[in-house]
Amino acid sequence: MKLKRGHSPLYLQLRNEIRRKIETGEYPPGTAIPSEKQLAEHYGVHRLSVRIALDALLREGLLKSSQGKGVYVCGPKAQRNPQTILSGFRHGLEEHEKDAESRLLVKAERSAGPYYAKLLQINPEDSIWYIRRIDSIGGQAVALEDIYITASKLPELPDIDLQMFSLYDAFYWSGIHVSQGTQVLRITCLDAATARLLGLKAKQPVMQESYLIQDEAGEPVAFSRCCIRAEKAEYSIKCAIRNA
């Protein structure tokens, strides 16, 4: 669409145009929109007009900006983040949300291979997304998470910025209602290379939390394995007692 001079102010026309692209999904949730410079060039307006156009959308919460990275489209907030888990072991790390930081080490496509194919109930040659990230609290690495996602369940993932949005948001935008899973806690130790990522030596114990994420139909969509430094591994759960 071309912006028309002499009509309403250019920044207003541009704002409506971007809003339309968000609403129609031309700019999908979780992805970056073109830069200020690109928008200015494309629509033939001054960068200041672009900034004014975006400001209101940022304030409205339709967009979210990240210093030095760009401006991202916010989808509706998923209501099924781990914080809304009704049962299962609750992790103490959730309380540290404020100074918590997540660093993405790997976000790549790979073939499922025999093991993840079995867990995700797909074929070994099918594509999966592999994500590895490190969670830090107050600058110290505390958890290393590996996530394996059936690619066909979440085809939009390559464009979604996982530093800015949670995986649960991504599922939600894809119409997947994460609903259940099984969580397992084990004490284990990591090989030397992996342990180093957490600032540990090989053979130092960690708590390993693994779980399968299933959709409403009970079909697996992802498998997550998270290793947490011993001193940060605190879980709690409330168990009802059946009075038989």
Binding site: I85, G88, F89, Y115, A230, E234, C239, I241
Partner: protein
């Protein structure tokens, strides 16, 4: 999007994990000879060894002198079986046994008074038990209960009945819920001696506070569980309401 190719030893590790699932390998059962696996998967012995030793280090497999590598057998505890050690052990395929180490009256410490809503110095029962799986020590627990609520507890058959069973049947408590905290600890010299572990070994610490339907705390229990004998599982459910309120 980048393409990720796992390294040969990671591929071997995944193959091994897939093998266990596909063949439904049961705890205690052995992997086929390494030679056969190498041949079937077209990998060399060093790569397979490295995958196996990683699974041994992580406690999934264990080597038996002269009879290959076997799948580790663990006790699975979940919210459903947390109240009965024997039930949990049977359903994981173990023969359970309980050794009562001591049962005595003790004064409530300042620490325990916070959990049991008793004043420091009031009388508690302290019950120390060692739990065995197939005759090997697995868990050591110390339970504290208000003595005034449970007259004559020391005369009950703690050897063969669960404490919860006794609380319900002998004392008619309606237990409502347990609040469980799980963390990773390192065993002390005494705990190590009980569990046959070197002092400082990593272990589960499970602290359970159980209350009755009035919300009165009835039991505080601290359990130390061997890392190689225990795993904790729980079903997950996410909130299932349109507006996300629980």
């Amino acid at each position: 999007m980048d393409h990720f190719t796992p390294r040969p030893r990671e591929i071997a590790l995944e193959r091994l994990q897939a093998y266990i699932l596909e063949h439904n390998l049961q705890p205690g059962e052995a992997l086929p000879p390494e030679r056969d696996l190498c041949q079937a998967w077209g990998i060399n012995r060093t790569t397979l060894r490295s995958a196996i030793s990683r699974m041994e280090a992580s406690g999934r497999l264990f080597a038996v002198q002269g009879s290959g590598t076997r799948l580790m057998h663990r006790l699975q505890r979940s919210p459903e079986n947390l109240s009965s050690f024997a039930k949990a052990a049977f359903s994981s395929g173990f023969r359970p046994d309980t050794r009562i180490l001591s049962i005595k009256k003790t004064a409530c410490s300042a620490f325990l008074s916070r959990y049991l809503r008793k004043e420091s110095g009031e009388t508690l029962y302290e019950i120390c038990r060692l739990r065995l799986l197939d005759e090997a020590p697995a868990l050591a627990d110390a339970a504290y209960l208000p003595a005034d609520l449970l007259p004559g507890l020391e005369d009950c058959d703690l050897q063969n009945r669960s404490l919860f069973q006794i609380l319900k049947e002998n004392y008619h408590f309606q237990l409502r819920q347990s609040t469980v905290k799980i963390s990773l600890t390192h065993v002390t010299e005494e705990e190590g001696a009980l569990l046959e572990l070197p002092a400082g070994s990593a272990a589960f610490q499970i602290v359970t506070v159980t209350e009755d339907t009035d919300g009165t705390p009835i039991e505080y229990c601290r359990t130390i569980g061997r890392a190689d004998k225990l795993e904790l599982t729980a079903p997950l459910y996410w909130a299932d309401t349109e507006d996300g309120r629980i």
